[in-house]
């Protein structure tokens, strides 16, 4: 099972772009990279998923280099409401192999 490593915490200010990098050195060929966001007292919420190169949706962008050993979640122009814990997961989703780490606690300040 591919393990992930991401910073424990990050601080930012409103209006800035935030990039959270996740390392997954032993990612398997079939594994996808998925990011979730979790607010206090809520379940995690799916943000974005990718396999390689770049994926963009209305919320974020996901950059994946050619070797796929890391990925970067990019949040454009964050606001106070983006303060949350962000989890990077690697796996195919079958047989419960999407393992959550401790995540990155992002604090956005005014």
């Amino acid at each position: 099972l591919a393990k992930t490593t991401q910073p424990i915490s990050m601080d930012s200010y409103e209006g800035q772009e935030v990039n959270i990098t996740c390392s997954h050195n032993n990612i398997a060929t079939n594994d996808y990279i998925t990011w979730y966001q979790q607010f206090p007292s809520q379940g995690p919420r799916f943000i974005i998923q990718g396999y390689k190169t770049k994926v963009t949706n209305e919320v974020a962008s996901l950059f994946i280099p050619a070797d796929r050993k890391s990925s970067t979640l990019s949040l454009p122009r964050v606001s106070l409401s983006d303060t949350a814990v962000y989890y990077c997961l690697v796996g195919t989703g079958s047989q419960g192999n999407l393992i959550f780490g401790k995540g990155t606690k992002l604090s956005v300040k005014p």
Binding site: S41, G43, F46, Q49, Y87, G93, S94, F100, G101, G103
Partner: protein
């Protein structure tokens, strides 16, 4: 579409008592998951169902935890008897297939064992 429904929202019990949690997944989602999230940690998978069959329960403490998903829709998770270390948020999630398209989580049940 309606989200994943869980109840109760909060529960406080004494150690050695039993407790049950209920989950109603998104309609049409074949895969259902129960996670345990201890304060300050990421969610930990307890059990995964595909329709009404168990796919993975390797991290479920089977001496005290049990789960079922009758008719492949609703699911219940039971703890009997509860221990202090079972205090956590129990999250239910569902996905259309195996999770490749992302999971949808409920808001969870916060269990406090005193």
């Amino acid at each position: 579409e309606a989200g994943v429904a869980q109840s109760p929202r909060y529960k406080i019990i004494e150690k050695r008592q039993s407790v049950a949690f209920w989950c109603n997944p998104i309609s049409g989602h074949a895969t259902l998951y129960w996670y345990q999230q201890i304060l300050g940690q990421g969610p930990k998978l307890l059990i995964q169902f595909q329709n009404n069959g168990v796919v993975d329960d390797s991290q479920l403490p089977k001496d005290r935890f049990s789960a079922e998903r009758l008719k492949g829709v609703d699911s219940t998770l039971k703890i009997q008897p509860a221990k202090l270390e079972d205090s956590a948020v129990y999250l239910c999630a569902s996905s259309f297939s195996r999770g490749d398209d992302g999971y949808t989580f409920g808001s969870g049940t916060r269990l406090t064992v005193v």
